[in-house]
C-alpha cells in the first residue's frame, strides 16, 4: 500500500452538486465531502462550456479576432475586447487619442459597477435574501441603461477598436448629462442599500466569519482582483495601467477575508468606480476618438494584463500578415478557483455555495483549454 493509500481519510458522504444546480449561475461541478453537513473537502471542476475561442481566433484578421473576444463573457465583454485591442496596440505601437482612453475608462468602470452589482445580487440570492437581490438588480438596471446608451447593447457593449473607440461610443453633452445623473442615482441607492445591508443582524450573522481566506492563503492560492484585496492584500492592476494615471482613486482592501469582507469590499469599490467615472466626465478631453494612422506588421507574442472586474485578465497573441497567431486568454476566475475550494472547507453545506460565490466566479469565460486525463 503506497503512502497516498495510507493517508486517505474516510469521509462520511459526498454531495455532488452540478453541473446544473439552481444555486449556481453557471454550469460547474462541485463535489463536497461532508461529515454531518460540514464540508471537509471540496473539489471543483469546470470544463462544461469550453468553446475554443483561442482556436477560432487563430488565423483571423486581428480586427475580427478582437471583436470575437467580446463574446467570451456576457458580464465583462468590454474588458475582453479592450485588452485584446491593447495587445495589438502595444505590439504595433499605436497611440490612442486621449479622449478614447477616457471613454474606455468610463466603459470599463461602468462594467465594473454592473459586474459588482450582479455579484452582490447573486450573493444575496445565495444567502436566500431575495429582496436584497431584487433591489440590487434594480440599481444595476441604471448601469445597464447607461451601457446600452453608449455601447448600443446591454450585453455586447464593447467600445474598443484598434486605435480608439467605436464612433457609436462618442460622448455628446446629452450622454454626459445622463451619465452624471446616473452616477448620482446609483450612489444614492447604493448608499441606502449598504446602510440597510450592514445593519441587518440576520444577514451579518450568515456572512461574518464564513469562508475565511487569509492573506497568506490567498497569495499561496494565486488569487487575484477583489478576491485577493478582500483578504487585505493591496493589489490592483489599475494602479499600474497607464490609462488610469490621470485618475485618483483608492484601492479598497478589507482585512477579514470572509464573505462579509468580499461583499462589502465590492460595495466600496463601486463607490470608487463612480468616483473615477465622475473624474473622466469632468476632465473628458476634446479631440478625435480613433487613431487610424498605423501600419500592420508582423510582431512576436505580446502580452497585456488589465484589471477586469473579477481580477487580472490576460490576453496574448502574435501577429502574422495581420492575422492572430498563438492566442492565449486567461480569465480571473481561473486564479480564484483555488480560493473557492479552500474557503468552503470547515463550513456548513449551505454556506458552500456562498463560499464559491464570494470569489465572483465566471466559469463560462474560464473554460479556455481542457486536458483529458486517461483513466
Amino acid at each position: 500500500m503506497d503512502d497516498k493509500e495510507e493517508n486517505r481519510t474516510v469521509i462520511e458522504a459526498e454531495v455532488p452538486m452540478g453541473t446544473v444546480h439552481p444555486g449556481a449561475l453557471e454550469p460547474y461541478r462541485l463535489r463536497l465531502f461532508v461529515e454531518d453537513e460540514i464540508v471537509r473537502d471540496a473539489e471543483m471542476t469546470v470544463g462544461v462550456n469550453h468553446r475554443g475561442v483561442e482556436r477560432i481566433m487563430e488565423g483571423l484578421p486581428v480586427e475580427k479576432a478582437n471583436s470575437l473576444t467580446e463574446k467570451i463573457c456576457g458580464i465583462c465583454s468590454n474588458i475582453h475586447i479592450w485588452n485584446s485591442c491593447r495587445v495589438a496596440e502595444i505590439a504595433l505601437g499605436i497611440e490612442i487619442p486621449e479622449r478614447a482612453i477616457y471613454i474606455r475608462i468610463i466603459m470599463g468602470e461602468l462594467e465594473r459597477l454592473h459586474s459588482h452589482l450582479l455579484y452582490l445580487a447573486h450573493g444575496c440570492e445565495v444567502l436566500g435574501h431575495e429582496t436584497f437581490s431584487m433591489r440590487l438588480f434594480y440599481i444595476r438596471e441604471t448601469v445597464m441603461d447607461l451601457l446600452g446608451m453608449i455601447g448600443g447593447n446591454r450585453v455586447q457593449y464593447g467600445s474598443a477598436v484598434l486605435g480608439g473607440v467605436r464612433p457609436r461610443c462618442e460622448l455628446d453633452q446629452t450622454r454626459i448629462q445622463k451619465l452624471t445623473e446616473g452616477m448620482d442615482l446609483i450612489e444614492e441607492k447604493l448608499t441606502a442599500f449598504a446602510d440597510r445591508f450592514v445593519s441587518d443582524p440576520m444577514v451579518m450573522s450568515r456572512i461574518t466569519g464564513v469562508g475565511v481566506t487569509s492573506a497568506e492563503d490567498a497569495l499561496r492560492l494565486a488569487c487575484s482582483g477583489p478576491t485577493l484585496r478582500a483578504t487585505g492584500v493591496k493589489s490592483d492592476l489599475r494602479t499600474e495601467m497607464f490609462e488610469y494615471d490621470p485618475f485618483e482613486f483608492d484601492v479598497i482592501t478589507h482585512e477579514d477575508g470572509d464573505v462579509k469582507s468580499q461583499l462589502l469590499m465590492r460595495v466600496f469599490e463601486n463607490f470608487e468606480a463612480i468616483k473615477i467615472i465622475r473624474q473622466a466626465i469632468r476632465d473628458l478631453p476634446e479631440g478625435p476618438i480613433t487613431n487610424r494612422s498605423w501600419e500592420m506588421k508582423d510582431v512576436p507574442i505580446t502580452k497585456s494584463y488589465v484589471e477586469a472586474p473579477r481580477g487580472t485578465l490576460y490576453h496574448s497573441y502574435a501577429l502574422e500578415d495581420g492575422r492572430v497567431r498563438n492566442c492565449v486568454i486567461r480569465t480571473p476566475s481561473m486564479a480564484n478557483i483555488g480560493a473557492m475550494q479552500y474557503s468552503a472547507i470547515g463550513h456548513h453545506i449551505t454556506d458552500a455555495q456562498l463560499c464559491i460565490v464570494q470569489c465572483d466566479p465566471c466559469f463560462t469565460c474560464t473554460d479556455r483549454a481542457i486536458q483529458i486525463i486517461k483513466i
Binding site: 481519510t9 462520511e12 458522504a13 454531495v15 453537513e37 436566500g128 450568515r206 449551505t350 455555495q353 483513466i375
Partner: protein, 329 residues
C-alpha cells in the same frame, strides 16, 4: 335536522377552507413578496390554483425511487392528514372525544412531519447523480466516499426538525392547555367563551409569538427553510414530484397554511371553524394574516443554517416554556 346541520357545517367548512387555501400562496407572493420587491408578481390565482390545474394535465414521470408508487402517494397522504386535522377542529366533530384534543393534533402534525422524511429517503433525483465510474477528475482525494443525494440530506434535516425544530409549535399548543386545564378542544373553547380569548393574556401573547415561529418552521418558509433551499438541497423532498403529484404538493402546502391558522384561531381566540357561525369570518381573517406576516418576515430574511437555526429555536422554545409557566400562574 341536527344531523343535516352538522353535515352542512362539516362539508361546507372543509370546502370553503379548501377554496380559500388555494388563494393563500397567491396572496403571499402577489401582495407581499412582489410588493416588497417592487415587482409585478404573479396573478393571484397562479401559484395556488392555475399551477396545480396545469400540473394535473401534464405528463408525469416515474421518479428515481426504490418505491415510486409510495413516493408519489405521499403528498396525497399528507393532504388527507391535514384534512383530518381540520375536520377534528370543527365543533361538530368534538363528539369524537380524544381525537378532538391537543394530543391528536400533535400526533397528526408529527405524521405530517414524518412525511418529509419519507419523501426525502424515497427519492434519488438526477441532480445528485455522479459518474458510473470512479470519479478521478483533478485527482479526487476521496474516491470511495459514499454518495449522498440532496433528498437524503433533506430527509436527515426533516429528522432534526422532528427532533427539535418543531418544538416551538408544540409548546405553543400547550399554552392554551395550561390555561384551560384540559386537552380537549371543546373545553379550551368553552374556557375562552367564559374568560375571553387566551391571546389577550400575557401567556397567550407569548404563546402566539411562539406559535407563529413554529408555523413558519413547519411550513419550511424562509428563514427556516432548511428542508428546501436554493443554495444546497434545492426542492429537497419534493425534487422528483411531477405533474399531478406536484399539484398535490402545492395544494397540501396551501391547506396546511390555512389549517394551522385555523388551529391558532381555535386555541388562542376560542373561535372554532364553522361555516354556519358568523365568527368564521375571523378564522378567515387569521388565515389571511398569518401567510401575510410570514411573507413579510421571509422577504426580509436570509436562509438560516444550523448556526442561526439552533439558537432561534432554543430561544423561542424558552419563551414558549415561560408562556406555559405564566399560564399556570
Amino acid at each position: 335536522m341536527d344531523l343535516i346541520y352538522s353535515l352542512i357545517a362539516v362539508i361546507g367548512t372543509l370546502v370553503v377552507s379548501f377554496i380559500v387555501s388555494l388563494f393563500l400562496p397567491g396572496i403571499e407572493r402577489k401582495f407581499i413578496h412582489a410588493r416588497i420587491q417592487q415587482r409585478v408578481g404573479p396573478p393571484i390565482t397562479s401559484p395556488g390554483i392555475m399551477a396545480p390545474i396545469k400540473f394535473f394535465f401534464k405528463q408525469t414521470i416515474t421518479p428515481e425511487s426504490p418505491m415510486p408508487r409510495l413516493y408519489n402517494a405521499l403528498p396525497l397522504i399528507s393532504l388527507i392528514i391535514i384534512v383530518i386535522l381540520l375536520l377534528f377542529l370543527i365543533p361538530e366533530m368534538y363528539f369524537l372525544g380524544a381525537l378532538a384534543s391537543i394530543i391528536a393534533i400533535v400526533g397528526l402534525l408529527k405524521v405530517e412531519e414524518i412525511m418529509y422524511m419519507f419523501m426525502g429517503s424515497l427519492s434519488k433525483s438526477v441532480l445528485s447523480v455522479r459518474m458510473p465510474f470512479p470519479d478521478l477528475a483533478k485527482g479526487a482525494a476521496h474516491p470511495e466516499t459514499p454518495r449522498s443525494f440532496f433528498e437524503e440530506l433533506s430527509s436527515l434535516r426533516a429528522f432534526r426538525l422532528i427532533a427539535f425544530g418543531s418544538f416551538p409549535l408544540y409548546i405553543a399548543l400547550f399554552v392554551s392547555v395550561a390555561m384551560a386545564g384540559s386537552i380537549y378542544l371543546s373545553d379550551i373553547i368553552a374556557y375562552q367563551q367564559t374568560h375571553g380569548p387566551i391571546l389577550f393574556t400575557v401567556a397567550g401573547a407569548m404563546g402566539a409569538i411562539v406559535f407563529f415561529i413554529g408555523y413558519m418552521i413547519l411550513l419550511n418558509e424562509y428563514p427556516f427553510s432548511i428542508l428546501k433551499g436554493k443554495p444546497d438541497v434545492v426542492e429537497g423532498p419534493y425534487l422528483e414530484y411531477a405533474a399531478k403529484y406536484r399539484a398535490y404538493v402545492y395544494m397540501t402546502r396551501g391547506f396546511l397554511m390555512f389549517t394551522l391558522a385555523t388551529l391558532f384561531a381555535t386555541l388562542f381566540l376560542g373561535i372554532a371553524p364553522n361555516i354556519l357561525n358568523p365568527s368564521f369570518i375571523i378564522t378567515l381573517i387569521v388565515a389571511l394574516i398569518f401567510p401575510m406576516l410570514m411573507a413579510v418576515m421571509s422577504a426580509f430574511s436570509p436562509i438560516f443554517t444550523y448556526k442561526q437555526f439552533y439558537p432561534t429555536v432554543a430561544g423561542v422554545s424558552i419563551i414558549g416554556v415561560l408562556a406555559i409557566v405564566a399560564a399556570f400562574l
